[in-house]
Every structure is written in C-alpha cells, then in structure tokens.
Subunit: 330 residues, 4 copies
C-alpha cells in the first residue's frame, strides 16, 4: 500500500524546510508537495541547501494530500487549515491559531481569529503529555517552542499540583526570530549581544498557562524571553516555588516516573546545554532543588526549530498515522 | 606634583590587562609596573595587543607604588594585599578576599582565609552605593561582576525595603570564565551553546545577600549563572516579588531618584543589551512592572571585565585619590 | 579661536556613526551636526548606543560647517559633495565617488557619475602613502576598506616595483555588508559560515590597481572577498610573485623604511589577527617570504569601520586642518 | 551473516566521535568498541552527547575487530596501525602516518616514522579520485582536511595537466585545531577574530603536492591556512594560473565530466558556503574563470570533521567492504 502523502505548506521558512527535509527521507510518508509564496519556482535545496530536498516550491492552491504540515504565520494559517480540513486533509498546524482553547484569549493576543468555525478543534500536540489525543486527531496544533520546553520541564511538578508560583526565563537562538531580514535578525544586532525582548508580555504566556491548567495546576506565569547569539537552540529555565515542601527524592521520582520511558526526553544531572540537542527532536531536562529557598529550578533544552517546531510536527504525524513515534526522527 | 604611581599585579589576566590599559592613559595616575608570573619578561602589548601598553611584565616582589590594583585569584590575593598594606600601599583588590564581612561565610565558600589579620577591613567598592566609604578607604574590595549588575539593578528597591523575594538569572560572556584554557573555555564548548553552570550555588550569592542586607533589605537570593557565546558582557535579570503592592510610578521615582545624577548608570525603557555597554564602565538598567503578577523585573547590563572588574577598579581609585570619578573612563 | 565645525552626513550608518563618535570627543573639532534620512528626529545614541553622542539626527539641507564627513553610498554622495564644495565646505567623502581618476573606469563599475564637473578632484586619502597631498586638499576621497589594507600591505613592495603578480584574498566581518537588513546580513546566513562574494569582480579591484600604479607598479590584480562570521575586522592577504628574486633581508628593509615611523602601522612577525586592531585606527602588517616559491605573502589586518572608513576619515581631517595626525585617535 | 565489526580507536577526539556516531547507526557494520585514554570508563554519549552512542570508552589493548578506524595523532597512530595490521585488522587511519609515500618528506615534516616497516603501504583514501585502489586495500590513509577540499577542487584541472601555478588559501573552523584546551582554541582567542597560522609552512602542503603529482600535474604549492570563528567547516580557495589559455566552456566540461556522477560532490555556480555542507559528507565546489588574468579560481567547501575526516573514513570503509559507497552517509 502506498505511503500517505504529506505536503508542507510554507516550506521556505526555517521550520517548514526542516519538516520537508525530515519527511522527504521518512520511510512511511511521501513528501508530495512543498509550497512557498515569494520563492515559488525555486528548488527547496537552493533556498535551503541543508535540506537536500530537490523539489520545486509551488504556489499553494488546491493541494489535497493525505496530510499537511502548515508552516504559516498565525492569522494566515487559520483559513488555509479550514480549507484543508474541509477537503478531508489531516493537518499539523505550526502556528498559534489552534493552540488556545479560549477565544477571547486568542483574540486578545493575536487579533480576531480568521477561521472561527473551527476554532478550538485542535488537539495540543505535545506528544509526551497528550499522546492519545494526538493519535486520534485530524487537526493537531503544534506547540510553540518556548511552551514545548517549559511544559516538558514543568509537567512532572504540574501533574502533582506542586507549582505554587513559577518564573520562566527563556533563552533562544536567532532563528526563533524568523527568516525575515529585520533589525533584530541583522548579524550586527545579535552578534556578541544578549537582550530580553517582548518584556511587556510574550504570546507564549497564555499557552503555557492553559496547558499547566490542563495538567491540573492553575498558576499565573511570569515569562521573559531573551535572544542569544546562536542560530538554533533554546534553554528554558523554570524557577518554581512549590505549593508545599518537597525534597529531592520526591522530585526525582516524579521526573523518573513521567519520563523514564520517553524516547525523546533525556533526563540529566547537572547543567544541560542547547548544543547537545541541536538538530534533534530531543529535550534534555535537568533540575535542581535548592534547600536554602525550597525552590525547584528546572532546565529544559531543545532545538527551537526541531522539537520546538518541525520534528515535533513529524512526531505528531507519526502518532496520527499509527506509525512508531520515533520513525524518521533518529 | 607627580602623579601617584599605580601597579597592576596580575596584569596578564583579562581584568588586570584592562586595568593597566586604562591606567596607562589616565591623566592623574602613572602606571609604574605591571606584573605576571608565567608571562614575566614579555611585553603586555604582546600578551594583550589591544591594551597597547608597551611595558614589560615583571615578577612581583617588593613593589611599593602609591597604589596597587591586585588582579589575583581569591586565596592568592589575600597575602599579597596584606603585604602591600603593611608597606602603606593603597589597594583595590579584584578578588573576593575582602568582599565578605562574615568570616564563616568566606571560609564556607572560598576556603580558609589567607590573611585573617586584615579580614573584613575592605570597603565594598560599588561607588554608586558606597561612594563616601570608598573615598576614605585604603583597601577597597572591588565587587564581583554578577553582584555589580545585580546590586545596581536592585538597589532602588532594596533601599526602600521592597524586595520580598528575588530570583536572579545572570547571563555572562565567556571571558567571565577566565583566561585559563579549559574544557569550559574551549571554543567548541561555548560556541552555539548556552548552559547554566554552578547550579548548586555560585559564590556571588552570599556577596549579593550581604550587600542587599547592608542596604536594609535582608533576603535570601536564588541566583543562577549561565554562559552565553560572546566574549564580554553580562546581562543580569532580577525577578522581584515586592513586599507590598507597588505601581510603575513609584518604581520609576525610586530609580530616578537614586540614579538620575549617576554618571555611569544609564536608565532605559525597554530591552537593554550587553553590546551597548561593551568596553565601557556603564551599567544600563531597565525595569518592567508586570501588573498580572505584581512582580518587578529589573534588567542590568554591564561589561563583566570593565564595570564588572577593571574599570570599576579605576573608578574606585579615582575616588580614593580625590580625582573626578569619571576621569580616564570616558 | 573656536574649533572648526564638522558635520557628519549619513551618521546613521555604521561608519558615519563612528566618525561622529570620534569627532564628538575630538579636542580640535566641534561636531556641529549629524544627519540621517530615515532616522531623522532620533538621537544618535539611541540609534547607535555605543557612540554615546547625545545629538539629534537631522535631515540634511543647507549645512555649511567648516568641514563635512560624507558617509553616503556611492552615487548619492557625489551631488552632495559638489554642493558642499560649492559652499566652500571641506570634505572627506567615504564613498567611491571621488576615488577613481579614470572616468570610464568609474562609470563601468559604478554607473554614470552624478557630479562629473568635479570628478577626479579628490585626493586619495591614504595618509601613510599620500600625506602631503591630503594636507593640502579640500576634497579627500577616503579609501575603501579592502584597498586600505591591501595597499598598506603592498606599498613597500610596489614602491620598489617588485610586484610582478598579486592575488588578494580579503576576509571581512559582516558590518562590511552595511546596516541594511538583507539575506546576506541575516544572522542565520552569516553565523557559522564563510563564503566568497562578488566572485565575478569586486569594485575595489580597480581602486587597488590605480593606486598600485600611482606607486609606480602597474599590475593586474586578482581580488576575491569573503564574509566571515564576526562584526568588525578585515584581514587582507596578498600573495605576491616578485618581479625578481628578493630575500627576507631586502623585504624587511623595505617595510621598516616605509613604516618604521608610522604611528598607525604595526609591523609584526608571525600571524596577525583582526581582533587586535578592533575599534582602532591601527593597521597590523606581517609578511612571510617563502623560499620554496620565492613568493612574498603579506597579511594586513584593520578594522573595516575604523581604519577602513571612519577613523581614517578623521586622520585625514587632522591632516587637512594641520592637526597632529593622531589627535583624537588613540 | 553477521556484519563486520569495526572499532574506533581514539573516539574521544572530534573525528573519532563522529566516526563512531556514523558507524553505530550503519546498516552494514557493527560498532564493536570505542577507545580512549583519558576518558576511558566514561560513556561516549557523556563525553560527546551529540553522538548518542551509549557505549563505554575502553582503553585500547588487543582489540581485533574486522576493521578499525584509527583516530590518533600522527606518530601515535603508526605503531598501533602496525599492530592491527599484524593481527589482520583492516584499517582506515585518520592520521598523516601513511599518507605520504616519500619517507624523507614524512620525516622532514613529522619526525621519524614510528612504523617504518609498513611505511608507504597505505592507499590514499580520497574515494572520488582513488576509488578502485581503496576498494582493494587493507590499509587506507584517510586524507587531511585541507588536502581533501583542495584536491577535490583541483583534480579536474590537474588531470588535464592544466595547473601551472597554484596558491591555496584555506579557512577552517576551530574544531580543526583539535579538542585540546589551548590558547588557540580558547573562545576569547578565536571569537571575532580571523588570523593565519602555520605561515612558515603547513604539513598538508607536501600531501597536496604529492597527490597533484599522482594526478599527473607536478607543481609547487603555496598554501596558507586561517582560523575563522566557527565550529566546523572549511572553505578552500585555489587560485590557479593555467599552463595555457583555457576558457569557461573547457573548464566546465572538465568539472562536469569528472564529477557529474559523484554522489558526494555538489557542483554549484556562484559562491559556496561551509554552512551548506555542515555535518555531511558532501563537498561543494564552484569555480570562476577570470578573463582579465586568465586565472581559474576554485572554491571547495567541506565539513572538516566529516568529509575532511570521519565520514570520509566511513566512505572508505564502505568501499573496502564492498558496500554501496553512500551507505550510512545520507
């Protein structure tokens, strides 16, 4: 039987290109189309040589593959996703358009939703926490990069209702700012620099709060992102004030129980660095219990373009199509 | 009248070299000697070309200048400082040996003190907070780099007793790890990476707590440092939970009152980046009041080798010798 | 007597901003105006914090200072320079518009000249080779960055007519590509990469050939530039096949004779690196005679924005106004 | 039938670790042992997390696998290779010990050979130029990184005897300087810097000359290497003065004929960058014919640790064991 066909829409962006790169070599999917707007007519491996995907980028029109990875900005994604769903195409959407479940929250942070008729139908695609729902879904909302790392780091504590208060400090490489040439992404701005951004509030905050709530731990989150001078990688630190006294043994058990069998979670002792998960779907997690303050500090490192976007999309596709979760990702 | 002579001991290290560079061109001091151990016999501008100080590095023996900047590691500094003081030399010590005022705390974090007879005699050399004491002192303990940024960022709140709780997240360039060639300072370890270090506890924690206490705000601090892939620069974020409700106007007034006239403090709105203070004695500070949580987030950016070490030492020397505080530093 | 006034036109670009930074602190000039187009109305130290020049950027109109540094792109510079000259303003022009002396060559490489009535009136502003002419000129054409390094490296051999053939390989930091946000200057393009550009021919080639000819050594040059992942700095290697056998002693004498007394030339043995001249007006030069091939390899390192543009402009201004050549530059 | 076993000796170094990483996942080899000296007892994926090879590093003693990749420094490699060969183990040696075929040349550049009894028995393992000899060999000398890129770029011209003279300018990332923590590999030395090294002569020069001669084109080479601030990647430019007039069509035909069917050679027009071959076995080649000088300029980009060492070793192993040349390498 032929492999399911998958199209990557918006394959000229960083995440779309990597999704195409993985799917092109995936044993159980056939990459049937890659689309782009400005770059239509060029070959993907000319725009993004590292993909080595020798397909021509097309304009999107009436593609009807078995599944689609939609790598559009929020706002632009929603109507296309609605169209695809109407044609029966199964979708993993990389934008924020189907992550939030409260319409008012979405509109406050992102502006009016562009496909309200299917708002809220997406399953939040963090496989480690939501595996079964993803497997049964036709519309998966791929998590944001910071929420991926933050939630994976916090989930063991959140499931136990242990998070009384949490400050999240996220450090991201420059690819997180997108492929557009802007003052922010100019080499001279980022090189030898480190600075916070979106200090008045980052859109990933409500997403993190929603999913912590879904794990049973309602909490107001302080989240500040920073740009660091590297291409790919994200280190997210969560400073947790627990709801009650916990000791290292208890924490250890919570993390081991939840993640002991996870193929893409690497629990480590001591410092973790983003270079160790570069170009992979792994999330490295380390935690420290500070006996002086009682705080638990959790470090989670991912590649923002891979586990924080493209490879996690493929992990979700694997689940949606009944394939082994790790297929094509190692 | 001849200018006072100053020797820089340990001028082969990064901070010592910069101190020598500044003093060599300072209108009111005469750089009389630069010393080193392994590099003795070489010229400073061969070891550190950017200094353009054409002096030969000597072995330290019985130097008796009017003042000395001691740029030795902790432990090694104390006995030399004692010796210099016994000869009447006025000292700015860049090590941790005279920063702490509690002997037990020192010994716990650094090992047994090597010159206990003068322990505790140092004045904490953060001019913006301690100007008069520095001016009258013969032994100034130059602050650590993280404490410099953290304390400058927190002082307006601490003086008002507003810090109920604080988490400090410090991101430093690789020069902070010293000139020694180690696994940590290898290009391949640091490049394209970001990772925490000393997560079990960093020696600057008690120093920060001591000085916050001296400002009238006793608090237990959570502090975690990170290495980011750049040469010089340090961004320190303090996430403060206030002791009571404060609003932006009140905070604004506290910062403006304390720093409005400070020559080396640059209060900014919005994000601050370390590149903007590179190779300078400036500290850029920005803060944000988060109405959702009531938290105050303070960002402070310095050059770890300048305001965090060498140029702050000269700022202290200026005060000690009655010179304009900014002389030689702009 | 009041200091001469100087305006920097185009101060929002990298080179213009640094020229303004130097002139603002220069003891013998008064920075009277800084202009920009898109950034007019903003303060220079907001656009370029490192300058710490608290002047507001104005639109250029009828500025008539004693002198102007024009930091416009080629083509845009010529008519403004003509206007300034007509008002009697002495000009250092950073563009290519007045460097070439052959009109056809200019038009071939840059398009039709925009102020042909004064074409060819510029003195080539490489002080080390052209000091007297600069001192007597009212219109100085500041050299390109690559030509500055290449010519300083080659001049001792060229003056002796020793260059039979030369291949020039130039490696530049990303600031050389300008402040515009483009695919080339995007962090993700430049980071961890090195690649040639303009391999079909770079506009600095005829400039280098013209000036080698002016030194008495006509030669056709092969020149290829490369982008390396750093902000400022340029290393230019010239591989010279001599016209006759030379030995190391002879070469040594040629370099020492020409540069022994030069304040901004640093002759070194062994490798030179761009970090050592960062943020300075120095040019470091090293050479190697390969006895196997008879070739002479010359390495010249400059900061492309300083000696390659802004600080060299001030060096020229010093000469034009009879000031010590090093004033304000150390 | 069981897969052949392969041991990687010296797997704690960069190249050895990558060889182990590739072989661990190779469908036709079984990675049977990884050895190290200082790191023995640690797991390879603790020393080099990116490999994700969960094997313990052992001390080397009497390993007798079917084949070995020896990743020792020159001098240290020779006696071990001799031992392995005596036990019938097929060897790919990453050092220089078996690359040169002239004993005097070897001794001049590297010191006295440590296993003279088998000196000269190695086949030079550049598969694209030497495929058949590699396939029939039991001792393959893996080429140096610079020679790999230089020779692949020059071979089409060399085979036609067209190289009259050649200057080679090679730019390498810092991993080329090895895993040892030294002044050279310190982040602060390499960051924001570019500088030549080994300007008096680099050991890869005779290797390049030998192999050009083997292709039928004896020529004395000028070769200068440079360190650029990136982790992995090497761009080698060859400036060729041809023996006679050639035009672009003829050159084009030479490159297309030789490389049209090569799986790991990517011929490109225009600039090539090292980022595009990072972490791969590909070599990207581009050339430019300069009609003004008649010169041919060839650019070749590789990953110095992959095609310049580890993955090329596996490519050789594939040939030696009759496997498809690309197996495990895409």
């Amino acid at each position: 039987m032929a492999n399911p066909t998958v199209a990557v829409l918006g394959a000229a962006g960083y995440a779309g290109a990597i999704a195409a790169q993985i799917l092109y070599r995936h044993p159980s999917f056939e990459l049937s189309a890659v689309t782009a707007r400005a770059e239509a007519g060029q070959r993907l491996d000319d725009v993004h040589p590292k993909t080595r995907v020798p397909l021509e980028l097309e304009l999107y029109k009436d593609h009807t593959p078995d599944a689609a990875v939609v790598a559009y900005p929020h706002g632009a994604a929603a109507p296309v996703v609605a169209e695809l769903r109407a044609r029966g195409v199964r979708v993993v959407d990389l934008s924020a358009d189907f992550r939030l479940r409260d319409r008012t929250t979405y509109d406050d942070w992102y502006g009016e939703h562009k496909a309200p008729e299917i708002f809220g139908q997406g399953v939040y695609g963090l496989p480690e926490l939501n595996r079964d729902a993803v497997a049964g879904s036709d519309l998966v909302a791929n998590p944001g990069c910071y929420p991926t790392a933050a939630l994976l780091g916090l989930a063991p504590l959140a499931k136990a209702g242990l998070i009384g208060d949490v400050i999240i400090d996220g450090k991201s490489g420059v690819s997180g700012a997108g492929r557009g040439a802007t003052a922010t992404t100019h080499f001279i701005s980022a090189d030898e620099n480190v600075s916070p951004y979106k200090i008045e509030g980052h859109r990933h905050t409500p997403e993190i709060e929603q999913e912590l709530g879904a794990l049973g731990n309602d909490v107001t989150v302080t989240f500040t992102p920073y740009l660091v001078p590297l291409a790919q990688g994200e280190l997210v630190t969560s400073y947790v004030t627990p709801t009650r006294d916990v000791d290292a043994d208890e924490i250890s058990e919570l993390f081991d129980d939840l993640y002991g069998a996870e193929p893409f979670i690497e629990l480590r002792r001591g410092p973790v660095g983003v270079i160790d998960v570069r170009d992979t779907n792994y999330c490295r997690i380390s935690w420290h219990h500070d006996p002086r303050t009682g705080r638990v500090i959790v470090f989670a490192a991912i590649d923002n373009l891979w586990k924080g976007a493209a490879s996690q999309a493929v992990q979700n596709l694997n689940l949606m199509f009944g394939r082994p979760e790790t297929e094509g990702l190692r």
